[in-house]
Subunit: 374 residues, 2 copies
């Protein structure tokens, strides 16, 4: 993984130099020697800022849904006893706060805490529902809510989290709150479309999925909310429309880079670090981005991969499948794409935030999400 | 049914005279000779006002969810061809508009159209999800969305409708829109709690459900949104807080009366008018309000009913079950309760709207929903 990450970083640097030539203030990874520690501090601070708001939102729920929500957030066991808590990495709220700080300083960051909590509630509403639809049984190393409480309660808890998110913004007297709510609601529609597309792609025959379709799906399912998080931060900083859009684009591109690297980790990554068993996507015949790139590569290995994907997984097939994706160029393509997306993200960021110092938090987070196994 | 409705009406009149003595302007049914025609006109006008807003909201959805939503609203067939349309009676949007008009005149009614559409979107989001959870296969005389498009797409379409509803309000420049959005989001949480309680009650043993629990469930599941609809109309009329609360209480009480009568219709009503086969609730061993009243009556017939409800329905049991509910007083209780709830609704209405002329629309709708088989 270290090798891959170095490659990505080099790729980003190379692209930045080329494509960001017109932006002397363009933020290349080289200009900011960021390590996981910096992002870790930012994420920790975001959790500290947002958790009280999230807790109080969840505590306001009626009993049945409160139980499901607190379990899903990792704050309670299934029996209602307190849990150590593993509510995820808080990347989305951290992006809201970092974007607000980048464009409006510490005051804007403080003002945006409620919006950051709203984004995290939306993220978790979609996780609850996606797990029901996908019949996924594990999330953050724990049994998914529907396996513990049943489909109905997991669906209802998700519905309630969406309502809580939009209520937080409706009750927020900040002048940007209505625009933020409209944007977040729009994003929900896009997330739903992404989830639909994901399900639909999985039902297609391997040869029938184009790379554009797979990328559009990933943008809707993953990029949209990361972009929306950044845009909400910009709105709470009182940024002009074009900067709001640039921040949205920054988050979307970083989100796509994140998804590409997530898919690579799913095939070649380190399960000790990610909690995701290597090869699980291939075993489930998931049409992840490297796989679709491989399938549509027109290489001999593409044919072999299509053949493997045309039938259910058989014991011992994994190594052959991994090799086919690799020989068909799926890994290389994903790495170059991820680097390219990160370069575009940097361009968008430079467009809105000309002071590299101010952009530091967003940069650290973008680097972090595309370097998660470190 | 005609006999029962006469009873209800008399009950309402009697209660009004007694309890509304302090309100000379109290609206008894007798003071306003309303017939189904008047309500029909109001509902028709509401449909005409709200449909363009609803249509344009649904048309803004991405393809997959648009299809499910247009089908669910009865505007398209499953294959995407246009349908004559049966999007329900528009009672909730009509309540928003009538409440706005009652407290703020025609200008407020016009301003509240978007809020009325938002309420109708929320109602339909809950129907889509409830049908998935309850495995109901028929809605408005058509196959439910999940039976046609699958669980995942029905869940996603519901999620998107909630987002559309709250987006409509977030984008509405009206000064009441944020308070309306917060109130509607709160109502969603209550609706979810109501649906959870409904499912939980159905899993209880017949003897373990109290009447208070069953009434609380009905208030959350049905009363809450009718109350919220009236409250939103009041907010859009710029009404003071106490009138908003009185309108909410009016809608809740009328909603409970509606549910009580719906349950009575489910046992003794006319399937030709309601589309609901008589006795279906009993066959499914549903713990509707008259049934819970019967089960908790302490009469000998209660024991017989508990025995029947303790085992799955057997061919030929229906008549015995109907008689047991009736002999245990379930029907009488429901009718008296419905009349009582209507009387309370009238009191609340009189508290906020002192001019009977202005209250006419709300009165007509309240009468209509408790007299639906006419």
């Amino acid at each position: 993984m270290a090798e891959f990450m170095t490659e990505t970083k080099q790729g980003v640097g190379a692209q930045s130099t080329g494509q960001c030539a017109g932006h002397p203030s363009g933020h290349s990874a080289g200009a900011h020697p960021l390590d996981g520690h910096e992002a870790g501090v930012i994420l920790e601070r975001a959790r500290t800022s947002v958790d009280p708001e999230l807790r109080s939102a969840l505590e306001s729920l009626p009993g049945s849904m409160r139980r499901v929500a607190l379990y899903h957030f990792g704050w309670e066991q299934a029996d209602g006893s307190p849990a150590a808590g593993n509510a995820g990495k808080a990347i989305r709220p951290a992006l809201v706060l970092a974007a607000a700080a980048a464009l409006g300083g510490p005051g804007a960051r403080t003002a945006a805490v409620r919006a950051a909590a709203a984004v995290e509630l939306i993220h978790n509403f979609t996780l609850l529902h996606d797990d029901v639809m996908d019949r996924d049984t594990t999330r953050r190393h724990r049994a998914t809510a529907w396996t513990v409480f049943g489909d109905a309660d997991a669906i209802l808890a998700g519905d309630a989290l969406q309502a809580l998110a939009l209520r937080l913004l409706a009750e927020d007297p900040h002048p940007a709150s209505a625009r933020a709510a409209a944007r977040l609601a729009d994003c929900v529609v896009e997330l739903c479309a992404g989830q639909h597309a994901d399900t639909a792609l999985e039902l297609c025959r391997p040869g029938d999925v184009t790379l554009d379709e797979a990328l559009a799906m990933a943008e809707a399912k993953t990029g949209a909310l990361l972009g929306c998080a950044c845009a909400l931060g910009a709105l709470y900083a009182g940024a002009p429309e074009e900067d709001v859009e640039a921040l949205d684009a920054f988050g979307r591109e970083a989100g796509l880079a994140f998804q590409l690297i997530d898919d690579v980790i799913g095939i070649w990554g380190d399960p000790g670090n990610t909690g995701k068993p290597v090869g699980a996507d291939l075993v489930a015949r998931k049409k992840s981005l490297p796989v679709v790139a491989a399938l549509t590569s027109g290489t001999p290995a593409a044919g072999e991969l299509a053949e493997l994907y045309g039938v259910p997984y058989e014991e011992g097939d994994l190594e052959r499948t991994v090799l086919a994706v690799e020989r068909a160029g799926g890994r290389d393509w994903a790495q170059v794409q991820a680097a390219d997306r990160m370069a575009r993200a940097m361009q968008e960021l430079a467009r809105a935030v000309s002071d590299p110092e101010a952009a530091g938090g967003l940069l650290a987070l973008a680097e972090f999400v595309t370097r998660r196994s470190n």
